[in-house]
Subunit: 279 residues, 2 copies
């Protein structure tokens, strides 16, 4: 797919999934996607585990709420992407054989384009999900070259760099960020880290968090879209309710890695000195 259009309208739909209410969650996602498209969005990013909820009691519960990539979530998103000419990136609880994955899918007018399985699992997720074994997903769409990873993956600067080295212009990050205490005047560290990740790699990042207290867990509500200079283009609003952010992104800016007359954030790397990172 050739990347022709460089100006793109990116939406993050912060949803509030309710654990186990998969039909209602799917309907809420469809409504949010449709509204975002109505507001001009071309790429729509949804949270991690957008249709199942997150705080599973155990693996059996997650299993009950899982589906395959031939299931209703992907089917409905594909129908809407085709109808509204969208690229949709969102998370679901994926079943494959007898394994479960914390998965993000990329869907466009052609249907399911890519499947990414979270490779760095958070907290109790290791008791439920198998770990992904593939690098960050990076693929071309009509609107630009997208990178995809899920939540805790982005805390590993190595992982973000791999996506940048593979040419990702916009990193799409479905996430569920559990809220932790922080100084009152400070922006959440989760958002600070995506700002840094964007600027260190001179790319856009669209991080779509969730809302809705679930089994005692609150969320950062940190949905934000950040530009390649590391400053937010939209969000974080910290609003503890569903809402959609839209930012206009000139993805051509993410092709330009220069930061001075003599510097390039990828070209200045010293990979011959980085060997220990892979040991």
């Amino acid at each position: 797919v050739l990347t022709i259009n460089r100006q793109v309208s990116v939406a993050c739909c912060q949803l509030a999934p309710q654990l186990g209410r998969t039909s209602a969650n799917r309907a809420a996602a469809l409504a949010a996607i449709r509204a975002a498209a109505g507001a001009g969005a071309q790429i729509v990013v949804l949270p991690e585990l957008a249709t199942s909820g997150y705080v599973f009691a155990d693996r059996a519960e997650a299993w009950e709420l899982s589906e395959t990539c031939a299931g209703p979530t992907v089917g409905e998103w594909a129908a809407l992407a085709a109808e509204l000419d969208l690229v949709i990136v969102g998370g679901l609880c994926e079943r494959d054989g007898d394994r479960l994955f914390n998965t993000a899918v990329v869907i466009d007018t052609e249907g399911l384009r890519g499947v990414y399985r979270k490779a760095h699992l958070w907290d109790g997720e290791g008791l439920i999900f198998a770990m992904g074994a593939e690098p960050p997903l990076v693929l071309d769409t009509v609107y630009g070259r997208l990178g995809v990873m899920v939540c805790y993956d982005v805390e590993f600067p190595e992982w973000v760099r791999l996506a940048a080295l593979d040419g990702a212009e916009l990193l799409c990050l479905p996430t569920n960020w559990p809220r932790e205490s922080r100084p009152a005047s400070e922006r959440p560290a989760e958002v600070v880290r995506i700002q840094a990740a964007a600027s260190s790699n001179r790319m856009f990042i669209a991080a779509c968090d969730r809302a809705g207290r679930e089994r005692g867990v609150d969320w950062v509500n940190g949905t934000a879209i950040v530009g390649p200079d590391g400053y937010p283009l939209a969000g974080p609003e910290g609003r503890e309710e569903p809402h959609t952010l839209i930012a206009h992104c000139d993805l051509a800016r993410a092709r330009d890695k220069r930061v001075s007359a003599h510097n390039d954030v990828l070209g200045d790397r010293r990979p011959e000195l980085y060997g220990r990172l892979a040991e």
Copy 2:
């Protein structure tokens, strides 16, 4: 050296070197170090190129302002470290044979303990300095295990991670951050990146910037000391003048890489998937 004392008082002395006035710059550094020690500092971090200035017209000018690690800067800092029981980390324009390096030294009561040469050169520095060819310096001192790199080095998450993998508890960063435009309400991206670097690696970072407009270049004045959760302990004040920040750091916190009951920011890495970073 055994690391016994885990509570340590860390100072950053933001200086305003004047290009070419090496004697005056050395005197200003000594006065600031002495004042910091008087305020209780045990580790004192100084800016990059603290005694020469930064905006050299050409290599010949830098050569004139360079000195070896047996020169007056290291000698004076060593005398003061011995007198006041300090660890000092600061930058100088180092001459070695016919080469120049943008160097940071670590000095304690024993004298010169380590030399680090900047490995990622900024803008015109490549016309003046040879590139360092060694990983970040990490070494034990009586006050804790320190990592050292210089300015643009820290923009490479790979480089920070190498220091963390080598056990650095406090990353000392002499820097000269040229000021760039940013949204008025935003913290400088340079500071955001050290916040992220600290929290991604669960270590302290003491970044000592400079002040003093030099040949048309202004500086971020972004001196800050950040804790392992990524939030500032002191600074950034953005004050366009020399000033000293002091923070009390419990370096034992940097030994604890856990971020949930099941997670550890170093232990959760997937180095078997990171090979491309070293290619």
